[in-house]
Symmetry: D2
Subunit: 366 residues, 4 copies
């Protein structure tokens, strides 16, 4: 029989997103209010677990954070406890420090660990779980691509922010009779581009799941031009790429004389389209803004529900699983069954069909 | 076998809400783009059907309306085709003018009618369907209370607007150490109060499904006061009422000398609380603002999906049904099976549980 | 010669508004950073001064509050130090407790007091100044009606919130072919109604400075109707009133059996218009929402500038004055010269002219 | 004596911005309502004047555009009537087509031309005015850098959008303990960076008027780090540059094999800071989003007032001037006196002082 819980810890890992504080509040309040547990926060994700940085979370401490973006616990997307980078002078050495994390967890007499994170965090959670750490995962990421759940905390707010930006760019595109290329985050999965492109009324959507054919993009731009619609809105995921080509993600070129970062897919595409169609084209990259700000109501509802679900499942004795949402209800998925990698947009997703019915194209290669 | 469709009509009925234009656009685009049908709009809901006011909807006509609040077709919530009010001098006579509506529909050679509306509109759709009109319904209302579907167009935008308002009132409540009573729409169902109250971090939620006990409200206000939390946020649905009492909806008192409208539940409650607890209390009524403005991304996605679903179902030969959302997927419900009245919040809804876990109360009478 | 400053105190008085925290931050940062002074906050306005409730303000303490609505110091609009209400059993006695406030100030060894408030707060500041308290005032109120300055902290955010609400109500008014009456705060001055009505494209504006003629309101509603514009937007200040009539502010009717609050001008007007024109009319009251939320950029700029100005003036030896804005630059006004009452909208204000040029009317009686 | 006006034309030139439609509405309404003039719009700025593309503007035509971003007339920032590019096969020839514009204006029997634009548009207006065209200019640009006026239409909305974005980036910077570099538009003048940086509470502001010293930037980042403030917000104008260095604006590298655009100042700076301080740094470029969306109330007030002022001045017989705002009132400036180039931020501007008092730095080279 599982040990009765008295004290739990919570950490937020990976890139930040709106709704993390809402999760922290929900777990803390539910744990304290429903079960009388003690709750501690771990600073800066797994880095804090490795270094033993804990702080107590009380009702007062989590008061007023529901509406705040970011995470009061801090986070990092550069710490891998199983391959931890340590500098030794100019060299960097990698070692497995997971044992150290386990020691801190045990010496703190914690009965369970709540890990809020994306696919990276969940893969660490899976390994720690295998090594005996009693864990429940809560999926978050603006990319909505954590395997095993249809929704992740942060996605809704990012779609909202992206849609508002597309609305703004519509007016400037229309006034100038321009093609406007809007890049949103999403290295592997096109959920954010798809949802915001559909909500924003995009004419062309380019997502990693459907490698595109530039000629089809040109053709649509020209066709709209010839019909008197003098602007075209293109929403492109960061990781979209031309069929047969490579991903064109923004990259740094480190050079002692003058380091530069080369633009990503949006800037590349804007150049190609201008050259290929002779229509004025502009690129806009919606980067970190998508991660920031107060979570929208929908993320607050999801974050609060996931947080409650996590404590309830722990109280019922479940361990080694992630809470999630699937087919219209809350579900749990054993961490050991979690697929690696990302959850991609299926090619027959209703949103894809809806885009096509609205007359938008994905310009996918045949 | 059903007749092949060539020409359809669409009307929006009942109170307006964000996302109606997105539905009109989606139905029109999908009908024209996917099937090559002709699409006509009917002005002002059933009033326009009775009076034969139709206008053609083209791709151009519905261009740019995705983001606009309201409905370009107009609407009315005062026309009952089966009990139509006609003034004769000072008297008002009621008669059934549904035959007239049928005549206009047939003389226009329409093959199907898309009715976008709430429970009132759907009950008319049900009757017209029985009389042979080929109908598909699309549920909309900020109240989320149309039977047969878990979601309605407009609800999400209203929750968003309400949550933003609650956020604003939080700061003023905290600065003044006040109780703030916030009334949102919802005469019969508490969906909007529940969702925005949970998302806004309300301390007390009062909904029609759970008649409240004023003494419990007082007790919570005093308890928070005594704990040093010097403000309390109460979200109340328009139709919430004290157990054993009556609904206190805003009403007009027509009097030749000076007609007044008496405040509704929020103002009544604010008075009661001030008298019952001696804590300064203010009421705010979020009325028609909840119906207005650009639909939020989520309503655009729902509206577009519902619109496409409606045309696809028509194309497949289905008639006499409403599209909807249930258990995580699109569904259809035969109009003849639609329950009358409103879909209420079940007492064990996860959002209710989540509120309680957060420490909020519903002050329901035992 | 004035004493060199080492330690100052700051209080926020009167109704809260967006930008108070920005003022607190600006005064604190500028005092500490530019001059090395010690800064203390006084809780709950003059109430805290009377009761000796002070707390130290450091750079850390004011970090992150720039964007927050409300005031971290708390405020009250019910404390008059010169006529202080004290309960004695069932009776209330009034006495002058200003000496007590002076004692606390002196025993705290403060060299200056920064009073952030509206006309009420400034009148107390004026009296305390006369009694020897070294004071600088900073004007704030969403009503923009503090004498001696063209702008007050909080006004811009309230205009923004009101304009957004009017935008939302436009779509619902247009869809339903309704008259929409929107009430904004402003008991004596119409600044907020005027600015938001002009920015929101109102058809009729009713402000206290121009008592209105109901017949002109009816005539305009009917004229718009007859021209095919099937909706009318009316923005009315809380304190607007019909010529020859009285103000119709919302009031409580305390009655043991069932206390009610009667609606204010908007509800009264909606009733009158419906009866007088037979056009469907709805009222919306934008109450405390106008005071809440994060200050808009413009209020942050003003609040920060006023805060800096206040410390610079103190450092230069000025006392007994209020900082302000007039004719395009920062000014100071001796508190002793401050007119009592409110600063009203002049009848020839450019915004009034602009409204008229846009075709809007004030329906003022002749 | 000036000819009495019967018919005017209006064009919008240069880059689009929020509030252009509000200007078009104000000019049209005021001209029609106050003076009974006929009003025509010219499509796509000076391009439409050269090509004789006019359309009538009526009260109906400008109804509902107050809140819309962009310009219903279209605009272009690539047409110079005095040096007009014409393609001849592969070659481009430049010629002066201003005479053609004058002919179209005269044959249309227009009595005056309202030119809404930035410094480029005003320089054309100045030349046309010299050649006898009766012109009034209305200044617009999100950069606020038109000479002769303290404010331009569009600036306020851009500051608002930028401030909201900075607010969002604050939370993500704080969660990740990062340096966040935010680039806003402004090739020559730093108004937008200054206003939004002050309103957003930036730690470092870099503007073209104050060439910066990278070492000071590094020092501040490290100092904040060492003080436990684990994030730094840097707002940088597009045209800011290191002292002794060159502007690093985003540029296209056209190369048949793979055309790229190199990142601008923000990306360059992010790289430098990461290398110079070893603190994780991210860049965000707020590009065209700043030009889009519904104008904020303040731009609607300014646009409406400028529009009215323009017609009133024309009615009074004034020609050859630009309306503007200076020292707290509306002014007019003869076009012939308009300085060329941009209006820069003076080094002793109150906003600069306020930033410094808040503890922010400009890192300017000595």
């Amino acid at each position: 029989m599982k040990k009765r819980i008295r004290k739990i810890a919570i950490l937020t890992g990976g890139g930040d997103c709106p709704g993390l504080n809402a999760v922290i509040r929900a777990v803390s309040r539910s744990a304290i209010h429903d079960y009388g547990w003690e709750v501690w926060g771990i600073e800066d994700g797994f880095a804090g677990l490795i270094e033993g940085r804990f702080l107590p979370l009380t009702i007062d401490k989590v008061s007023g954070i529901l509406t705040q973006g970011g995470t009061i616990l801090g986070t990092t997307n550069r710490t891998n406890p199983f391959l931890y980078a340590k500098r030794k002078g100019l060299k960097v050495e990698y070692k497995d420090v997971s044992k150290q994390a386990l020691r801190f967890f045990r010496s703190g007499q914690f009965d369970a660990l709540v890990c809020v994170g994306g696919d990276g965090t969940m893969s660490f959670a899976k390994r720690f779980s295998k090594e005996g750490l009693p864990i429940v995962g809560i999926p978050k990421t603006i990319d909505n691509d954590v395997p095993g759940t249809e929704r992740t905390v942060g996605f809704y707010s990012a779609v909202h922010t992206a849609t508002e930006a597309i609305d703004k760019l519509h007016t400037t595109a229309a006034s100038h009779h321009r093609v406007m290329v809007i890049e949103v985050m999403g290295r592997d999965a096109g959920w954010l581009a798809l949802a915001s492109g559909l909500a924003g009324g995009a004419d062309i959507l380019l997502i990693p799941e459907l490698p595109f054919d530039l000629k089809k993009v040109y053709a649509r731009v020209k066709q709209r031009s010839s019909k008197g619609r003098r602007f075209t809105i293109i929403v492109v995921a960061e990781g979209a790429f031309p069929s047969g080509g490579e991903k064109i993600v923004q990259r740094k070129v480190k050079d002692v004389s003058q380091p530069v970062r080369l633009g990503g897919i949006a800037h590349w595409l804007a150049n190609q389209i201008e050259m290929g169609t002779d229509v004025e084209t502009r690129a806009t990259v919606l980067g970190h803004v998508l991660r920031g700000g107060s979570p929208i109501y929908q993320d607050r509802l999801l974050a609060t529900s996931f947080g409650c679900e996590a404590t309830h499942r722990l109280a019922m004795g479940e361990r080694g699983m992630m809470v999630g949402w699937g087919k219209g209800e809350f579900i749990t998925i054993p961490l050991k069954n979690l697929a690696g990698g990302c959850r991609l947009v299926p090619k027959n997703h209703p949103w894809i069909d809806a885009c096509r019915s609205m007359g938008a194209i994905f310009a996918e290669a045949e």
